[in-house]
Amino acid sequence: MTTELHVVGQSVARSDGVGSVTGRSLFTADRSFPGMLHLKMVRSPVHHALLKGVDLSEAEKVRGFVRALTHADVPHNVYTILGLIGVEPEEEFVLAVDRVRYKGEPIVAILAETEAAAMEAVSKVRLDLEELPAVFDVEEALQPGAPVVTHWGNNTFMFEGHNCRRVRYGDVEQGFAEADHIVEGVYSTSPIEQAPLETTGCIALPEANGRYTVYTNTQALYFSLDNTSIILQVPGNRLHFIGGMVGGGFGGKVDVIVEPLATLGAMKTNRPVRYVYSRSEEMQVSSTRSAWKIRVKDGVTSDGRIIARKVTSYADSGAYSRQTPYALTKHAANAAGPYAIPNVWIDAYCVYTNRTPTSAMRGFGVTMASFAIEVQMDRIAERVGVDPWTIRFLNAYRNGDIKPHRKPAEDATLIETMQAAAVLVGHDLPEAFKAMTSDPRPTQEGGR
């Protein structure tokens, strides 16, 4: 960058800072409108069951009750948010029809004059449920005879004809055969809630000319608008989504969960409708980061070069897909780690179980791959008898290396970053490592 920059690169004061330190900035649910209704959800109390009946008779008597919304009111009740980029099948139910697949699944939306009245009405809805066996472990869910979670097939997402996202590069079996050491590890994680300080929520407002304004704290306005348009079968130009301040997202606000039903409520009542998650809903019902089980098997030479890496990963998607199939693809693109490895085999499964659906969270599919790979690297270092820095410098990827998904590496700077980290913590690297760069390797070594 030859030209000298004036603004980019400066730590200027944030343009929204005064609004934050005075609390004057308006967040979605800071707004309220005359005649605004409150939506509270009747949720499944069990993990997996047939839904045989819903009795609203007691709920309707509650003072302040206005109306209920069931699956029959939803124009396009079965959907999947990645349908916008061609992912299928449509498999999640805006409101349950005849089966519930996770504890907390939405069944009936109650609209009332006050939150207290809505909560009281929710407590008086009687559900006729016949419990079914549930499955919570990803590997059990893959066994024949396991309870089937999805309504369209077995318990894995199909990636263009395969039951997992695959990466095949080189020949891992040959690599293992040539290796001096075989190092294996199994790395597993639990679901994690994004837990933004502001819970997911929106307010839908009927406008004069048949349009609907929706104040929402989604992270993706058009993604939410387009999905709401499909679910409600309403042209997109009748929907006007407005964001503004978002009290933290971390991936927890890309599920298009509250906007469709709040807008449907506004349509059916011609009154503003507020649908905001309580903290316990955000904790227990909003989507989480997937739990992962990642098996790594490496073939390593005696001097510490990794010549084969086989990764088998299971992401626990919970009862529905949401964003998780995408996470598997991003996982597969990064599961081998920032290392130059000639033979790589990756199978990444998106598995369904009877728990809260999982979706996006900061690091989407890569965070837990980095956890597995970077603990595995220390395992390899120990086996080969070198220190953790050495094993990483020996295998670090460089510009021009062909990555397992066949895209040549560019903008790679792992080596320079590790060198800077060593200086920061006062770790004295050997001269050879200090001299290394991420510049492309000399051609005769080729893609290594």
Binding site: S15, V246, R362, F371
Partner: protein, 332 residues
Amino acid sequence: MARLRGTGMAAVNYPTGMNLGGDPSQALVHATTSGSFIVTLSATDLGQGLRTVIGQIAAETLGVAYEEVVIDTADTDTGPHDMGTFASRATHRVGNAVKAAALEARQAVLELAAEELEAAVEDLVTDGHGNVLVNGVPSRSLRIADLASRAQFQYGRTIAGRGSFMKPKSGVDPETGAMDPDSTEAHACTIAEVEVDTETGEVAVLSIRSAYEVGRQVNPALVRGQIVGGAWMGMSHALYETTEPYYPSRDHSPKDFAEYLMPGPREVPEIDCVVLEMPSSNGPYGVKGVGEMTANSPIPAIVNAIYHACGVRIDSLPVTPEAILRGLDALA
């Protein structure tokens, strides 16, 4: 009872942006009668400071002061399309779109200035302080603000620009996994220092120190905010938080901030970082992106530090004090 110390490291990279459906962002820029500029978007600011960094990129490209740019975003009636804020994509994608839109608006300013200064457009430059001048002849210069307002009433021209940036949709070969999944890569190397109480299994994180390489830093203070906030989140992922403490059992799921364990202000370690800037090949002013990756390297660095401290290597998260005690019992 012993308190054992250990250090551990991790080195990671992280991709900027998405690919499966195409990853587009658009922006509009226009000058107002007062001569300041409005940037219109639909991208959302989650608190990471998108408005500020996009304002800086627009001001830099237009050659005006940062205070002269207003960001109007998050409204689908006025803002052109944007995919959304995730995947460390916003600064890279929205930044590129805003830069393109600002360049178009800047060109309109230069053409107007060329007329007024009776000079060739090619000879004109902006000084970054709101002035257009003939290159090398500071005396022949005009205020961009004046030009922008005269454009409205005198010339009847719009000073505006449209910009868009898209990483084209690229699918995945189902057999081999061949794909073009991202635009550039940021990097981090983290060293964590921990102290393990061998009687209670408690892990105190003493320090998290990282080197990051994130391409051009548009606002270094905001980059540091992501690194410090991410180090805390990584520590929380590694040692504390889960919605299912006994996964895959669904029992005992927390329902409030008391039961959902996250480190508090008392537990936060010393967090230090150094940031390298190797400009990316395709980001605005060499931007890469940093927001999404900053919890990643601290997690394995902490797990590796625990092993170094007490010889217990735990391969499942979160690493609870119970898991460490059971590991120590097994070693004994």
